[in-house]
Symmetry: D2
Subunit: 218 residues, 4 copies
């Protein structure tokens, strides 16, 4: 593990929905250039826009040629680090994106399947986070907004890039954001950064996921 033998592409998002910052970007930034398990982390900030976000992601993948892509987004209202299990082939925007677009029940890829599973060992990642005292959970839905759009688009694109793994993590509001949302849960970006570091290390080193029940009855 002396030499840097590859790269990890780690993306956050710009602020949206009236927020002035996005904790995903704050958490991601802090890992720029860091070497994890011998791979150098390259970070990007994606726009919260249907279409443009995926164009930026594609460009970054072409440029960075990563062996692992991890996209990170904000999930205001969720209390724990969410390791997303699956991306679905639909945009259904409850609010407009940052460019004013609000697609309803539109396919992300006309020719794509209904969904893609993340190709990361999410259960091993879950175990690693919890072992370090970081609150984490498996999520069965990444929603139908730009986060899911990017997640689905990523997995769709990776079908043509053998050997590259990808996935998505949602993180809660930062405490500073939650101060403006009465009752809302939060997690500091420093904790989120440590979670991402552990998640990347686990994704790089675990080939076969562990068996750990973390489903939902509904």
């Amino acid at each position: 593990m002396n030499a840097t033998t590859g790269t990890v592409l780690l993306t956050g998002f710009a602020p949206f929905g009236g927020e002035t910052c996005n904790p995903s970007q704050d958490a991601v930034c802090a890992l720029e250039g860091e070497v994890i398990e011998g791979r150098r982390v390259v970070t990007r900030c994606l726009p919260v826009e249907f279409g443009a976000s995926l164009a930026a992601l594609s460009e970054a993948i072409a440029e960075v040629r990563p062996e692992l892509v991890l996209c990170v987004g904000q999930a205001g209202g969720r209390a724990q680090i969410s390791l997303e299990r699956i991306a679905i082939n639909v945009d259904d925007a409850r609010i407009p994106d940052n460019a004013g677009a609000q697609p309803v029940d539109t396919a992300i890829a006309e020719d794509g399947p209904a969904a893609y599973f993340a190709s990361l060992p999410i259960k091993a990642m879950l175990a690693a986070l919890r072992a370090e005292g970081i609150p984490a959970e498996i999520s069965q839905t990444a929603g139908t907004f730009v986060c899911n759009h990017v997640f689905y688009g990523l997995m769709h694109a990776l079908q043509n890039v053998p050997g590259v793994r990808g996935g998505f993590i949602h993180i809660p509001y930062s405490p500073a954001q939650a101060a403006h949302h009465p009752g809302a849960p939060s997690l500091p970006p420093t904790v989120a950064t440590q979670a991402l570091r552990l998640a990347i290390a686990t994704a790089l080193t675990v080939q076969h996921d562990v068996r750990l029940a973390a489903g939902a009855t509904h």
Copy 2:
């Protein structure tokens, strides 16, 4: 609409998870034999068991030859009628099923795609329910337990039965159940029955779904 020209298969579930009744079955029962939009409703109660539930469903489909299949399950903790958008190809049981099985990250159909969308006009159904004052929502996940198992298995089976539509609805605890779960939301089976009646009527009469934003940001 004078003659009964077809059938609708409507299924509920047996009690599970320590409950002595299942509101899905109570809501479903009440519609046995009822004629909705010229079709006769035939009901079945499925076991809360991986595998056996799908066998029972297949048998019922073969026997009833429905033009529409609607499966209904209990979602303890949810507050509104949930119209499920998508079924995913994984069993991940947080608790054992009624036969003691607890699969973790097992595919439902080894050769199946990652997911199937419901083939019902769920947005029109949502609008119909709300118009009657029934609290309803689109759900982006049916979980990873027996409900999702049946929903996925149903959609997988219907791939070979052209023209038959299918979907899944989750309903809250009944008030009597919630009396044993401090703080839990509920909805009476009578309201759920009326919701199912409206959902079926809408599914039978609406061919092209309406455009109605009902997604989730995450």
Copy 3:
């Protein structure tokens, strides 16, 4: 129980906060004139206004001369029938009342104590509701808006009327209201009416409350 030997004053509230109905009033109305345990129920609808609500309540008490006063209000977002334990001596309005007033940290009775406990057997009432399959809970706070204002004012007034008992019950949104509040829990006014009937019967017949743990750790 042959003769009607007394009266019960039961109050609901007018709609507020943008709603077009108030389920407390719907639930209360249905009991107008009903005889419960030999007492006739007289109902009133109070305005959602600081001050005016208490004036209307005082007038009703003077007119009806009840032996029991039960006030009922809407608690949008709560899932179960809430039997309120205590009223506190402060108005702190997050939103304006129906007359536009928005007091902040004002005492309800300048010379009153910090709080009054309900003088009803709330644990016996809780047990009675649950025994009938109605979801119910003890609440440790009635908030700081008009509901708590009326509850505190009632208990303050009853200090001068020996032998008359009083209390407050919060009920969830109706299903029709919840249809406009995505994800919100609800309970039909018919269930709430039955809850009120049972609560009144219990309050009239139980002198010494039962021992039943129903507190909150925080």
Copy 4:
């Protein structure tokens, strides 16, 4: 503010309810000996026991002779720093305390009033926390377990100690605790410590509370 002119008594609690640590004690510990606005902070860890907790608090007050007493407890499941408004005169334990006692509907002080308001400028404290990006809220109930027991006992005792102010703050689970409670919100003890520092500084310097709506409709 050159000389230390007085002391602040700051208390946390021992672990309870199956936890191995209590974030209130972790947050409190970090301020031992710190000088805030010219006063030295003295900390104590109270047992989670009805009765014994108040005996320990009384002893500490007698020994430390503080001008301000702030007690801090864990509120597992709450998402923000909770500034408690009022303590009520009842113990109603949903679970046994650490000595196995489980009082139900017992008065804390037989001769005491139904409740005491905190004698701290909680709205100014709320504003100070939010201004620093710390998620905080006013809470209208401290529950009916040992936290409320200590809060009420404190305020009752302070009736006989003119000029000494007192109050209670609830803090969420730490992230390490939340890692064992799927879906539970958390806040790091370092954020809680900073919240306590700001709360104490505000309590020491603000005599007349600010006007800031922070109530609850129910």
